[in-house]
Symmetry: C2
Amino acid sequence: MERSEAAGVPAPPWRKPRKPAAPRRQLSQELIIETGLRILDEEGLDALTMRRVAQELDTGPASLYAHVANKEELIELIYEKVIEEVRLPEDAGAPWQDRLRALAWESRRVLTAHADIARAALANVPTGPNSLRLAEYMFKLLIEAGLTPKAASLAMDRLSLYIAGDTFEGSLHFARQRASGWSVEEYLREYFGQVETYLRQLPPDRFPTIAAHVDDLLEGGDEERFDFGLDLIIAGIEARLRPSR
Amino acid sequence: MERSEAAGVPAPPWRKPRKPAAPRRQLSQELIIETGLRILDEEGLDALTMRRVAQELDTGPASLYAHVANKEELIELIYEKVIEEVRLPEDAGAPWQDRLRALAWESRRVLTAHADIARAALANVPTGPNSLRLAEYMFKLLIEAGLTPKAASLAMDRLSLYIAGDTFEGSLHFARQRASGWSVEEYLREYFGQVETYLRQLPPDRFPTIAAHVDDLLEGGDEERFDFGLDLIIAGIEARLRPSR
DNA sequence: TACTTGACACGAACAGCGTTCGCTAATAAA
DNA sequence: TTTATTAGCGAACGCTGTTCGTGTCAAGTA
């Protein structure tokens, strides 16, 4: 009935004019995921809010819910997108230890590259196709190494937990460094400085072992610690393969 | 000047009567922590809000901030309180493997007993006295086992991460079960049922190993998985102690 | 005993969150 | 051309952690 307008009668001024040019944005799940991932990379997981994503797409938060069930699902979708980047080691002829190590490092690399998405890795049992791709590879590798299917299943579970846990822990430092507003170097210096001060002033009678080895406790970097734990697990798997048990 | 009231003159009705009996609540950090812990145990970490704690103490949220810097600190304090419950294995004569295993299980037991506090275990580098008590014990144990201080430091770090990571993962199921409103049995049946259905319908050509061993993948329970990972790590430590390396 | 002082208690408010409701408008179908 | 469907989205709800300013009591001082 707005046709009357076309007949020369101006619309009453109190009736809001129609949107000047409604180009009908083309929202899609894909677009929302990409936008969310970009925000995650640039500003961290805490900044990833529905409102923030919507703002980036020049719309309101309500618009997102037509493509995504809720925030949790969005984060899972972003996680799956990230996992896609993991490249599986191709050298099928190499010893299983090397292939496993390569896979673990590659997973860690990808997760670490995307801010604190690792928080989602640990919080969800990943069931998307990309997660399954990794699982299939790792599972097969462990069975080829000689583990029984049951043991391989458990080992895969624990190894995944280890990778997710380590990157999650790392992401916390990342988030704090970001929140503190300092540079990475400043933050690390400040943080380790505080821990060192704290450890050095501990009463040696109550904590003799710690007090005697403060240097050793402070020494290891992130990557060295990851590597050490990976070694432990791999050695543990090797122990299971020995005929003695 | 309210004495005039006692002289027989009634207070003007528009002047609000004094608080019926203002016993001046005795807030304290201790009380706040205990209340928070109770809420955590009964309703889970998600229900632990500043408002909820204040409500329980018949006051407003602002009152808490005189005793606690912020919510993060409150959770850390609650965590420290929980850790207090961990009893250190006393049998100093037992093999280090047994003592380490006992400590890990005891830590897991306590963390699991308090709903999803494990989320805090992983999110914070614990520096309170009770955490240090555990660290001192574990560190000493590992050195006595024969590790170098550096290796003992790394092993302690990885073992702590493992325990925290495992209990954290468990706490997620706990939180979901609670949120779902179902009983534990219903939830587990539903959840594993869904996972099983999902795994069984996977295309075997893309995921041959997984498809061939669905039963094995579903089999392990929480405790069996924890034990398996603990075995891996301990065996890994033993491997480091062998003269060959 | 009267007064001052300092610390704690706390109502009210702020800014931000995830999510839902219900209307608008553009498209697809008839 | 008319109708049905549906994505887009403004506005609101109820929740969160935290801060501000005021109120009020208890202890210390004169």
